[in-house]
Amino acid sequence: MAAAVETDLQPRYIDVDRQVQRAMAPGGLTYWLWVLFCAFLTALGIGFWTNQVYKGLGVTGLTEPTMWAPYITNFVFWVGIAHSGTLISAILFLFRTRWRTAIYRCAETMTVFAVATAGLFPLIHLGRLWFFYFVVPYPNERYLQPDFRSPLVWDFFAIGTYLTISTVFLFTGLIPDCANAREVATGWRKTLYSIFSFGWQGTDRQWRNFQMVYLLLAGFATPLVLSVHSVVSWDFAMTQLPGWHSTIFAPYFVAGAIFSGCALVLTLIIPIRKFWRLEDVVTIWHLDNLAKIVLFTSLIITYSYSVESFMVWYSQDPLELATFHQRYFGPQGYFFWIMVVCNCVIPLLLFSPRVRTNTVWLFIISIFVNIGMWLERFVIIAGSLATNTMPSQWRFYTPHVTEIVITAASFGWFLMNFSLFAKFMPIVSMTEMKEGISWLRQAVRTRYPYRKAA
């Protein structure tokens, strides 16, 4: 296809279809081994989870003051991952950003599965999972409803809404593409695409309403995405625990979420475009733009870390000072410094255009950013809890095998779902690509003079 790009100056719509459909071709052995590996991780996690529910949360390494550590870290991490997807698909849509078209489906798929993964963690961390429905408002014989003051109930509503709306948004966007896929697919796949296309035919009436609902959903998703991570940050900011109780948390968490999410989009899209040969659809230009967002948000969170520390120093609140002293120099201080290196130092490499346009570099940096952002949540959650207001109750968290496996399983679960979806659903929005195709080519050409593929 590389040759086609060079020679075919007049791009055709059908090229887009063919490229995307090729990605949807039946997976090879490597693909299925990968899916199987993810499924195995998931199954392992379910096994450990079952054991945890059966025996009690004591099988984890959670301890008396450090009541939340890996599970809520995972929760915040996955919710954060989800956010960049909505940013790319909804917010950039509202800004009519052209480069989003190639990657937004991938990002949005990531959003849905990341939220679905995140949504599991509040359940996993529950002491009595079998009573989780107490959080749901429904008429019952106890006449008792959840307490809407609790940030956890906000979480329930926010995550529930977010999952619903982002799923709706994803599947709404999928309707025309499924209709397209329906036309070339056979067998059960045809049935699948028929169901998800809802009989879409692309009539003028359908397109007219589609445009409106898509715009409105994007419009709703934009404040939603900001609210969801704010609500998640309020899980912490609403408490009075030193290290949590901070007004900076909402914007800081949102920036961090976009940072980690864009990094994960890079992590996911780089192998996909390589293995499924989508280089012409998802070009270096797209990756470059993503990298710029990563760089920008990295600078924001660097600033946030500084402001957070500055406020602690400036306020001279002894409780906060002690907690932050422990965060930097305590027995688990190395987590903080690894986090700083991953989140603040390594992304600075992205100032270099050579790094930004090198997929290997981008991939490696994105992995570091993911590690760093996971650690950031861990440092905030577990570290602050361990060094709480009551010095006699300080106790640091050490992980046990259950949490490690369940954390790994969450990646397995996410990647399995993502891989399956990416294989069976159009991972690049064909309609939008067609819409902007001529513009796109031009943009890539002008900015990145074509280099021969190795």
Binding site: V53, E64, L129, W130, V135, M238, T389, S392, R395
Partner: protein, 991 residues
């Protein structure tokens, strides 16, 4: 619950699958109700019955009350009528319940097969063997039977004595390792009588304790703690506000040292020397009382070799300490010197100090009609053991928890003696170290299941009644002995006229009635005794004079400290001499000073640790981070234990708790730690040792995180000067005005028109004895989690004794140690409440912060947001091995796995009292509701009451002590309903 997968388990399993999440977790209503055939008129099912009885856990003789529900005792409380306990009880007393319900109690009589294994036998067979062996031993000559037991009160001890006589033997030992020999022998030497005096700490203005840890294990801790709290209460003396001054001379701080003004870190074994130095200073300064009729010349001669300089050098303490202690004792209106340990000379010196300073008869009182000596002196016990060694004994009986194999001095080699005896009979509850070699094991009743009496001191006669039916198929020890004596027949058998021990106790009380109250009705006297727990009378003080001969005696003290390290063993505050080790409450409640649980540790000063090559630095923050094991070699062998580096011990001294290291004694005690008795010489608790660092690592377990308070307002203290300086208690003002000034409220404050419960805790009175913690465990069905899970941070205590070590910079203006009970503060602005998604944590209309277990889904958010970290999470479902579950309070839900729990201010007691008051159509009276912790507290540091009642003792206490009042972490504006009263200390300059 059926076999295999139970329904609840199924639901848990199904919950992960998300399938049956809506199924409720309850059991079907299918249990049986079996009514009485003829009801007991005194028992109303569902309403507790209280029986007065006596505590048998130590020699102090506290009167206690057993709370019985549906035939099973669920809690022990102090007996308010009893002059010793006065309604309080210590942790060890509470834990007697766990001895009663111990799952490892011998269930049936057993005999040992040839291969060493045990075989169950019937009671008939056991009794037959018992008597047959005695018979054949008695036939082969006199004194072929030895009995080693523990004293069980005059009536039962009399049975034992008579029984042994009928079998023709005199080899009788009533054994206590932490005995009274030194005190009695010293009293004999000084005053010509082997009585034990009583101490009046409350009347003293200054107390100097020469190694007597009177707030921990020495003597009668409940009583002394109460007196000590009174001693430390700020009082107006001659127009100035003052509190008593106390010095504690011991190489280890301990809670006694923690509450003292001065911790004098004398070298182990030199306490007596220091006492002599103090005496020397008093005599030379002329501070002795003029009216003592002591031969001054002889006294001067007596103390001549002990000038403060040489004494302070030998004891390793500053010389001004000796002189200032002398001025305390000599210049106070009333003072008290007490001696501890097993050293006779320390006691002599302390008695002399009291006599010389004129405090004999004032703070140290000998009483008329003191009870006869019950314990066997060690030298007599040694003789019996020697006779066993010599093969002069055919049958040896170990009974009543004496456990000689564990606690008798190593030099006696009791374990070998017991192996050597042809037939060893062990009678008791939990088979202990001494039962290892026994040929016949007979389960006997727990003291709470038997009739007995007790006569701890003149004027106090207590009757112990059984408070429940036997838990196991056991029999009362003394019933067996009486039957056996009757079987022996002849004239000897006639000496025991009673059918059983109940008769014997009753008969003893009939005699007592003719002596104490001859003009009352015997039945009335008896039932009165049962109701009040005994007969109490004012005892007459006896005028004693110093035997001048003592002044011509030459005391021998260790002249100089040896070069090598010294091991100073101390009785663990809960495990005592080792008998507490089978009771999980006592194992799991942290030792107040070190906060270590379930273990034996070696306390070592950072300096010493550096000397022996320990790389680990002393860091208050991470006690649990990593621990080295050292090998300690004593003249009696060596042992290994983990080092706990702490500044609360003298450099060069290794302080090690006594009480662990049982080779048997149930699952909670077996193979845990080190038995220090095996390494200690007779009549001393210190021994020179060599220490070698090993490569091993072993984690000591503590629920404590950081020992440094980091300047936070958790436990506060103030100096006496601060209290006096314009901050004198003002009593007259209106209560209203004196309430803590208005909190910051963003919204309209919630009104609590009816009752509003609150608590006042006087940190100044708290000794850290942890009686409240044990009471909370007993009252609220708190689970025991064991060492490994305490290490994981899973301890379940709702109430904990927090301890902080003052940093070196502030040491001169701080108490030796900060100690205070911390429990749920029931905040008005409870941070835990708004974060709960399901209203499991809510506020009641009576100002309580409620935790609704069945609503809780276990998000644990509440604990995250709790600034006081007083909430506890059920990481696993709690388990009580049978029959320990019988102890559970039926009024308190047993929490399942995944539920948060915390202090409820004993809501079950509040509710019950409110129902009673409402049915009687009245308001609750002050003091009608009392929480378990406040009830147990020996020093009455905790007061509970209604905040809306300005006349309640609780409100009055915080109003009257307003300068001392504070709330924990006030900057968080959580508005705790517990007000603490600051502890008071003397600044160093002011001592």
């Amino acid at each position: 619950m059926s076999e295999g997968l139970s329904r609840r388990s199924f639901i848990k399993l199904a919950a992960t699958a998300g399938a049956a999440a809506a199924l409720p977790g309850c059991e079907p209503a299918a249990r049986k109700i079996i009514p009485y055939v003829v009801p007991d008129e005194n028992v109303i099912p569902g309403v507790p019955t209280f029986y007065a009885t006596t505590c048998n856990e130590c020699r102090a003789g506290c009167g206690i009350v057993a709370k019985v529900r549906e035939g099973r005792v669920i809690k022990l409380e102090g007996n308010p009528a009893d002059p010793i306990s006065q309604g309080s009880i210590c942790a060890r007393g509470q834990a007697a319940l766990q001895g009663l319900y111990n799952p490892d109690r011998l269930a049936t009589p057993m005999t040992r097969r040839a291969d060493g294994s045990l075989q169950e036998i019937s009671w008939e067979e056991a009794i037959h063997q018992f008597n047959a062996r005695l018979q054949s031993a008695a036939q082969s000559g006199k004194n072929r039977i030895a009995f080693i037991g523990s004293s069980q009160g005059p009536a039962l001890d009399n049975i034992t004595r008579l029984w042994l006589q009928t079998w023709g033997s005199e080899r009788l030992v009533f054994w206590e390792r932490i005995g009274e020999e030194a005190a009695r022998a010293a009293a004999q030497a000084c005053f010509g009588r082997r009585d034990l005096p009583i101490y009046r700490f409350d009347l003293a203005e200054a107390i100097v304790s020469f190694g007597a840890d009177f707030l921990e294990t020495w003597g009668s801790p409940v009583e002394y703690a109460r007196q000590y709290a009174e001693f430390r209460r700020p009082k107006l003396r001659n127009g100035t506000l003052s509190i008593g001054k106390c010095a504690y001379i011991s190489p280890r701080l301990g809670t006694t040292g923690a509450r003292a003004d001065r911790w004098v870190q004398a070298y182990p074994g030199t306490e007596g020397l220091v006492a002599m130095g103090v005496l020397n200073a008093i005599v030379n300064q002329g501070w002795f009382a003029r009216d003592t009729e002591i031969d001054l010349g002889a006294l001067k001669e007596f103390v001549s070799g002990y000038d403060p300089h040489s004494v302070s050098e030998a004891a390793g303490i500053p010389v001004e300490v000796v002189t200032s202690l002398a001025s305390w004792l000599g210049q106070s209106n009333s003072a008290l010197a007490v001696a501890g340990g097993d050293d006779l000379q320390t006691y002599i010196a302390a008695y002399l100090l009291n006599a010389v300073t004129g405090n004999l008869g004032r703070t140290l009182v000998f009483l008329e009609d003191s009870p006869p000596e019950a314990l066997t002196p060690p030298q007599d016990a040694a003789e019996v053991v020697q006779s066993i060694h010599d093969g002069q004994v055919d049958v040896a009986i170990v009974a009543g928890g004496a456990n000689p194999a564990y606690s008798m001095p190593a030099a006696w080699n009791v374990a070998a003696a017991l192996k050597r005896v042809p037939f060893l009979i062990w009678m008791g509850e939990v088979p202990d170290d001494s039962a290892q070699a026994a040929h016949l094991l007979i389960p006997t009743h727990h003291p709470l299941e038997t009739w007995r009496d007790s006569h701890p001191r003149a004027g106090v006669h207590q009757v112990g009644q059984p408070v429940m039916q036997p838990v196991f198929d056991s029999r009362p020890l003394h019933d067996i002995l009486i039957q056996s004596a009757h079987l022996a027949g002849g004239t000897a058998g006639q000496q025991i006229p009673w059918e059983n021990s109940a008769d014997a106790v009753n008969a003893a009380w009939q005699q007592l009635q003719s002596k104490l109250a001859p003009d009352t009705n015997p039945t009335e006297f008896w039932s009165q005794a049962l109701r009040t727990g005994g007969a109490y009378q004012e005892a007459q003080a006896r005028k004693v004079t110093l035997d001048q001969a003592i002044l011509r005696r030459k005391l021998q003290f260790r002249s100089a400290a040896p070069e090598n390290l010294m091991l100073a063993a101390f009785p663990h505050i809960f495990l005592y001499d080792g008998r507490g080790a089978d009771k999980p409450w006592l194992q799991e409640i942290p030792e107040p000073v070190t906060q270590i649980v379930w273990d034996t540790w070696i306390e070592m000063h950072p300096e010493t640790a550096r000397q022996i090559g320990l790389k680990q630095n002393y860091d208050t923050r991470y006690l649990y981070a990593g621990i080295n094991v050292v090998e300690v070699s004593t003249p009696n062998g060596s042992f290994e234990a983990a080092v706990h580096i702490t500044p609360l011990v003298r450099p060069g001294v290794l302080a090690v708790p006594i009480g662990q290291g049982h080779s048997a004694y149930g699952r909670y005690a077996k193979d845990r730690g080190v038995n220090l008795w095996a390494f200690l010489p007779e009549a001393s608790r210190s021994v020179p040792v060599q220490v070698r660092l090993t490569e091993k690592r072993y984690m000591l377990t503590t629920p404590l995180g950081n020992s440094d308070m980091m300047g936070r307002s958790v436990i506060e203290a103030m100096s006496l000067e601060e209290l006096t300086a314009g901050k004198q208690p003002e009593v007259e003002r209106e209560a209203q005005e004196e309430m803590p000034s208005g909190p910051y409220e963003m919204y309209d404050p919630i009104r609590y028109p009816g009752y509003k419960w609150g608590m006042t805790i006087d940190v100044n009175a708290c000794t850290g004895c942890s009686a409240c913690v044990a009471a909370c465990y007993a009252e609220n069905n708190l689970a025991i989690v064991g060492k490994e899970r305490v290490q994981e941070g899973h301890i379940m205590s709702w109430l904990r004794i927090e301890r902080f070590i003052p940093s070196p910079e502030e040491a001169h203006k701080a108490p030796n140690l900060y100690l205070a009970p911390i429990l749920c503060q029931h905040c008005d602005h409870a941070p835990c409440e708004p974060v709960c998604p399901v209203f499991a944590s809510v506020h009641t209309r009576e100002g309580l912060n409620a935790q609704i277990y069945n609503r809780c889904i276990g998000t644990r958010f509440c604990e995250n947001n709790c600034p006081y970290k007083v909430r506890r999470f059920n990481w696993f479902a709690p388990e009580w091995p049978e029959p320990m579950h019988l102890q559970l309070n039926p009024d308190v839900t047993v929490r399942g796995a995944g539920v948060m729990e915390k202090c409820t201010f004993c809501i079950q007691r509040i509710t019950a009292a409110e129902i009673d008051a409402r049915t009687e159509g009245r308001e609750l009276k002050d003091g009608e509701v009392i929480t378990a912790c406040a009830q147990a507290c020996p020093t009455r540091a905790i007061t509970f009451g209604n905040l809306n009642d300005h006349n309640s003792a609780m409100v009055k206490r915080r109003v009257e002590n307003k300068p001392r009042a504070y709330t924990m972490l006030p900057q968080l504006n959580a508005l705790p309903q517990i007000t603490y009263l600051r502890s008071i200390y003397h600044t160093t300059e002011n001592l």
